[in-house]
C-alpha cells in the first residue's frame, strides 16, 4: 500500500457537513481525503437557496466563530441578507441570506481544491470495513481502496435514496443523480442501526412567468450585515428581492380534491417527514381552519431565472402541482421548470453516537449531517465541523472537543441528537435552547473563538479582534457605570423619566426600554468603543437579570454535567425503572446531565444513579 492510499481522515460525501469536516481536519494538520459521487456537486443546495434563519442563523455564526467556512462562503455569494425578528429580543434575532447557489458551490469547491492537505476524489463508496486495530478501510466502485484512522460519513440524503412524485418512485439521491446503494449495508454490517426519513423540495418556476405586482416585495436590509465575524459586510450592496404571497381557498380545494394522489396520504411514502418544514399537502391536512398559508418566492442566484417556492413543498403529480401553484395570487401564469418531489433515505439513528459524533460501536467512525436525521444545511455544517475537529483530535492523540448545551447551539444540537429519540427530521429552533439569552448571535465569537484559536482554526489576528471586542464591552460597561447623568441633560428622555431622581447612573438609564446606547454615547464618552462592543454592552445591561438567571442555571446544571458516567451495566442497577435501564443502555450517556435529559429517565432514577456511581456498584469497568 503506497502513500497515496493512506490518510488520517476520509470524509464520505462533499455536502455541507463533508466540506466543514474536511477543511477543519486539514487545517488542523491532518491528511484528508474527500470522496463524492460527483465532485461537481460540492456544497450543493438541493432545497431552499438560503443560509440562516431562526435558530439556523445562530448555528452559522457559531460555525464561523469556531473557524468553520459556511459564514464566509455565504457572505461572498449572497443575493440578499436581512435580520429576522429585528423588532424582537436579541435571543431570537437571526441573520438570513439568499444564496447564489452556483457561486456558493463553486467557491467552496475552490477552497477545497486550494487546500493541499485535502485530496478530493470522485467515486462512489461501496464498502467501509475495519482494517486492523486502529484503522478503517474504504473501497470505491472503481476498485480503489483507502485506509484512514477516522472515517466521517456525511452522505446526506443519498443512502438508498428514492424520489417520489405521486405514486411514481425512482431511485436517486437527487434529481438526475444516482443514490448511494452500498453504504447503508456497510454501516449495518458495522453494527449501526438505520432508520428511514423523507424530505421534500418544492417546484421551481420560471421568473418570467410571475406577476410581481400582485405580491409583496421582501427586500434585503441595507446593512452592513455579514455572517462571518471576520467580515464587515457592505452597506447598500446590490441585492435581489424575494416576494411574499399566500395560498387561498382555491389552493386548498385543489389539494383536498387531490389528496388521494399525495404520497403522504396515499402511503407510498411511509417514511417520516419533517414536522417543521412540511409540504403544503400536510399543512392543509393539519390546519384545516387556516384560510391561507404564506408562500415566499425566492431567487436562486444572480444570473438565474429560476425561483424557489418556499411554502409550496409538494410531491403531488405534476399536473396537480401546476394547478396548486397557479391558484396562488401572482402565480396564475407560473411555468414550472422543475417539479417538486419527495426523497426517502436511510439515516443513522444518532443515539448511537457519542457527543463527539463518533459512533459508540466503531472507534474512528463518525457521522455528520443529514445522515444523522437532521434537516438543514446549517445543522449539517455544525455537525461536520465538530466531527472534523474530533476526528483530527483523535488522530493527533488529543482529548476530544465536547460542546455543551450551555456553550452553543451546536451543543444543543448534538446533545439533542445523541440523547433524544429522533422520530422526525430535526431542525434547530431558538426554543430548543434553554439558555438562549446567553447563546446569542452577537456573542458567538466571545463564546467560541478562543476554542477555535486553541484548535488552530482561528488566526491570531482574529483572536485578537475577539479579545478587543470583549475588552471594548467591558470598557463600555465601566464607563456607563461611572457616568452620572442629570436627567435634565437628556431632553428627549426627560418626559419619560420625569418621576425619576435628578441624577442617575448611565447604566441604570440604559436599563429602561426606551433608552438606547446611542442616546448615551456622547454623554458617557463612548466614542472610541466599536459598534459591536457597544451593542454587546447594551444587551448585557438590558437583559442583565435574565442573563444572570440563565448563568445561575448553567452553574447549577454544571454539577450534573460534570459527573462522567463510566460504562455501566445498567441492567444490574435494580432500583432503576425498567424503562430507564433500557434507555440508558441504548443511548449510553456520557454524563449524568445527559442521562437526565433522556425521555423516560426520571429525577428519581438520576438520584439512584448518583448513589450507584459513588458507591461503585457492579460496573463494566471505567471509561
Amino acid at each position: 500500500m503506497n502513500d497515496n492510499t493512506r490518510y488520517d481522515i476520509i470524509t464520505i460525501g462533499a455536502g455541507h457537513a463533508g466540506c466543514e469536516a474536511a477543511l477543519a481536519g486539514a487545517r488542523m494538520g491532518c491528511k484528508v481525503m474527500m470522496t463524492a459521487i460527483n465532485i461537481d456537486r460540492i456544497a450543493h443546495m438541493p432545497c431552499n437557496p438560503s443560509i440562516g434563519g431562526i435558530g439556523k442563523g445562530q448555528l452559522v455564526r457559531e460555525v464561523d466563530a469556531l473557524g468553520g467556512e459556511m459564514g464566509r462562503n455565504i457572505d461572498a455569494t449572497l443575493v440578499q441578507i436581512k435580520t429576522l425578528n429585528g423588532s424582537k429580543g436579541p435571543a431570537v434575532q437571526a441573520l438570513r441570506a439568499q444564496a447564489d447557489k452556483r457561486q456558493y458551490s463553486r467557491l467552496m469547491k475552490a477552497k477545497i481544491l486550494a487546500e493541499p492537505k485535502i485530496g478530493l476524489r470522485q467515486g462512489e463508496v461501496v464498502a467501509i470495513e475495519r482494517a486492523g486495530e486502529e484503522e478503517l478501510q474504504v473501497r470505491t466502485a472503481d476498485g480503489a481502496t483507502f485506509t484512514a484512522k477516522c472515517v466521517i460519513v456525511a452522505t446526506g440524503t443519498f443512502l438508498k435514496g428514492e424520489m417520489v412524485i405521486g405514486e411514481i418512485k425512482r431511485p436517486g439521491g437527487r434529481a438526475g443523480e444516482s443514490a448511494s446503494s452500498f453504504v447503508s449495508g456497510a454501516l449495518q454490517r458495522l453494527g449501526l442501526e438505520l432508520g428511514r426519513f423523507q424530505s421534500a423540495t418544492p417546484p421551481r418556476i420560471w421568473a418570467g412567468s410571475i406577476d410581481a405586482t400582485r405580491m409583496i416585495a421582501q427586500p434585503g436590509d441595507v446593512g452592513p450585515l455579514a455572517f462571518s465575524f471576520a467580515g464587515a459586510g457592505r452597506r447598500g450592496r446590490r441585492q435581489k428581492d424575494c416576494y411574499l404571497t399566500y395560498t387561498n381557498k382555491k389552493t386548498h380545494k385543489v389539494i383536498a380534491d387531490n389528496l388521494h394522489l399525495s404520497p403522504i396520504k396515499s402511503g407510498s411514502v411511509s417514511a417520516k417527514g419533517p414536522r417543521y418544514c412540511p409540504s403544503i399537502d400536510r399543512k392543509v391536512i393539519n390546519f384545516p381552519d387556516r384560510d391561507r398559508h404564506p408562500v415566499f418566492v425566492e431567487p436562486e442566484g444572480w444570473e438565474n431565472e429560476e425561483l424557489y417556492l418556499q411554502g409550496l413543498t409538494t410531491s403531488m403529480p405534476i399536473t396537480v402541482q401546476e394547478k396548486i401553484i397557479r391558484s396562488v395570487e401572482g402565480l396564475e401564469q407560473a411555468r414550472i421548470m422543475r417539479p417538486g418531489y419527495a426523497v426517502a433515505y436511510d439515516f443513522v439513528l444518532p443515539h448511537q453516537l457519542k457527543n463527539t459524533l463518533e459512533s459508540n460501536a466503531v472507534p474512528g467512525l463518525f457521522a455528520a449531517g443529514q445522515i444523522n436525521g437532521t434537516s438543514g444545511y446549517e445543522e449539517a455544517a455544525a455537525q461536520g465541523l465538530i466531527a472534523g475537529i474530533n476526528a483530527a483530535l483523535k488522530c493527533l492523540g488529543k482529548e476530544p472537543l465536547i460542546v455543551e448545551r450551555s456553550q452553543a447551539y451546536i451543543g444543543v444540537l448534538i446533545d439533542d441528537l445523541v440523547t433524544k429519540e429522533i422520530d422526525e427530521p430535526y431542525r434547530m429552533f431558538t426554543s430548543r435552547a434553554e439558555y438562549r439569552l446567553v447563546l446569542r448571535s452577537d456573542n458567538a465569537d466571545i463564546r467560541l473563538t478562543p476554542i477555535g484559536h486553541r484548535l488552530g482554526l482561528i488566526s491570531d489576528g482574529q483572536m485578537e479582534k475577539t479579545r478587543k471586542k470583549r475588552r471594548g464591552t467591558d470598557e463600555c460597561l465601566a464607563k456607563l457605570k461611572a457616568t452620572s447623568v442629570r436627567t435634565l441633560d437628556l431632553p428627549g428622555i426627560a418626559v419619560v423619566v420625569a418621576a425619576s431622581p435628578a441624577v442617575l447612573k448611565a447604566i441604570d438609564l440604559l436599563r429602561r426600554p426606551e433608552v438606547t446606547i446611542d442616546t448615551l454615547a456622547k454623554i458617557a464618552r463612548l466614542g472610541k468603543i466599536t459598534k459591536e462592543s457597544r451593542h454587546q454592552a447594551e444587551i448585557e445591561t438590558k437583559y442583565e437579570g435574565y442573563i444572570k438567571r440563565q448563568l445561575d442555571q448553567i452553574a447549577a446544571q454544571k454539577r450534573l454535567e460534570g459527573v462522567r458516567l463510566p460504562s455501566v451495566d445498567y441492567a444490574r442497577i435494580e432500583a432503576l425503572s425498567m424503562e430507564a435501564r433500557q434507555k440508558l443502555a441504548r443511548i449510553k450517556p456520557q454524563s449524568l446531565g445527559q442521562a437526565a435529559r433522556i425521555a423516560g429517565v426520571t429525577p428519581a432514577d438520576i438520584s439512584i444513579l448518583m448513589v450507584a456511581i459513588r458507591s461503585k456498584t457492579p460496573a463494566g469497568g471505567e471509561n
Partner: protein, 321 residues
C-alpha cells in the same frame, strides 16, 4: 395554458452541448421549443475535458451568435498547437452562460424530467416522462449524449449512468427499437483530472508562448517515457484542476511531474449506443432528429454544429406540418 398541454414546435431531449445548440437554433427561427433534461444543473456539461475541437480540426470555424459568445465568455486558453488550435473552456462558466441565456430566450421552455418513451402519431411526437407528463411537439430531437444504453438484463441492478453518478432514461431504448432505428455500440473515454497543487511544476514543460485568446497565457505539458505529449489542460480559469489531455492509460507515476499527483476525477469510460446517420433521411422518420454524441459526434465542436443544423432543420419542418 398548462405547460404540459401545449403543443410545441420542437421538443429537444437532452441539454448537453448538442441539445443547447439545437434549442438555440430552433428558437432563433421562431419555433416554440421545449427543452427537456434530466437535470437542469448539468446543462452543457463538458465532461470529457476542457478542450474544444471543431468538426474540421484544421479550421476552427467560429460558432455563430450566442454559441460563439458562450465560448468566448468561458475561454481559458486558445493557442496554436501544430497545425490546429488548442481551445480550452471553463466548464462552470460555459454552463452558467448557456443556462442563463436559455432561461431568458424567447420561445424556449425548460422542463426538468427524464424522457422514458417517444411515440409518433399523425400530428407529431409525444414524449412520456418518468414523472408522468405527456409532452407533445410537431418535431422531436434526441440529443442525450451517452445516455442511451442497453437496458440491464432482468435481475441485475439497474444503474444506467451516462456519466459517473448521473442517471438517465432507462426505457428510452425500447422506443428506439419500436421505431425501427438501428443502433451501434460506441465508447467514450475521459482522461484523469488531477489537483493542480499536487503536480510538480518544476518537472513539466512550458508550452510555446504564442498569442492566447484567453486569460491564461501558457499551458504546460509533459510526457510519459517515449509516448506522446500530454497537455496539462486547466478546466477552469483558476487552474485548480488539470485535465490530462492526450493521456493514453499511462500510470501517473510514469509521467514527469505527476509522480505524486492526486487524482480528483479518475479516468472513466462509458459504453453507449449511437444511432446511424442513415436514419435521419428516412421518410417516416420525418420530424425526428438526432444530434451530438448520440448521432456519432466525437467532439464538442461537432456536437455543437450538429445541434445547430438539426435545430434549424427541426424548426423548418415544424412550420411545414
Amino acid at each position: 395554458m398548462s405547460l404540459l398541454d401545449k403543443e410545441y414546435d420542437v421538443l429537444v431531449v437532452g441539454a448537453g452541448v448538442a441539445g443547447v445548440h439545437a434549442a438555440y437554433a430552433a428558437a432563433l427561427k421562431q419555433a416554440e421549443v421545449l427543452l427537456l433534461t434530466s437535470s437542469w444543473d448539468t446543462v452543457a456539461t463538458l465532461a470529457w475535458g476542457p478542450s474544444w475541437q471543431s468538426a474540421n480540426l484544421k479550421k476552427q470555424r467560429p460558432l455563430p451568435g450566442f454559441a460563439g459568445k458562450a465560448l468566448a465568455k468561458s475561454l481559458i486558453y486558445q493557442g496554436q498547437r501544430g497545425e490546429g488550435l488548442l481551445t480550452l473552456t471553463d466548464s462552470f462558466k460555459y454552463q452558467g452562460a448557456w443556462k442563463h441565456h436559455l432561461e431568458r430566450m424567447a420561445g424556449v421552455t425548460v422542463f426538468q424530467d427524464t424522457c422514458e418513451a417517444l411515440e409518433a402519431d399523425k400530428r407529431g411526437w409525444t414524449a412520456l416522462t418518468s414523472w408522468g407528463a405527456s409532452l407533445k411537439a410537431k418535431t422531436a430531437m434526441l440529443a442525450i449524449g451517452p445516455f442511451l444504453q442497453e437496458r440491464a438484463k432482468t435481475g441485475e441492478a439497474t444503474r444506467l449512468e451516462g456519466r459517473p453518478g448521473e442517471t438517465g432514461a432507462e426505457r428510452l431504448i425500447e422506443s428506439i427499437a419500436s421505431l425501427g432505428i438501428g443502433v451501434s455500440e460506441d465508447e467514450c473515454r475521459a482522461a484523469p483530472t488531477v489537483a493542480a497543487h499536487s503536480i510538480n511544476w518544476d518537472l513539466v514543460r512550458k508550452g510555446a508562448a504564442g498569442k492566447s485568446a484567453g486569460p491564461v497565457g501558457v499551458v504546460y505539458w509533459t510526457k510519459a517515457a517515449g509516448r506522446g505529449r500530454i497537455e496539462l489542460a486547466p478546466t477552469s480559469v483558476a487552474g485548480d484542476q488539470i485535465y490530462l489531455q492526450g493521456w493514453k492509460n499511462q500510470p501517473l507515476q510514469d509521467i514527469a511531474g505527476l509522480e505524486k499527483a492526486h487524482t480528483t476525477r479518475p479516468a472513466f469510460s462509458v459504453k453507449y449506443l449511437t444511432v446511424s446517420r442513415q436514419v435521419m433521411d428516412r421518410e417516416h422518420m420525418r420530424g425526428l432528429f438526432f444530434a451530438g454524441r448520440l448521432a456519432g459526434a466525437k467532439s464538442y465542436g461537432e456536437s455543437a454544429e450538429q445541434g445547430l443544423r438539426a435545430g434549424a432543420a427541426a424548426a423548418n419542418v415544424s412550420r411545414e406540418t
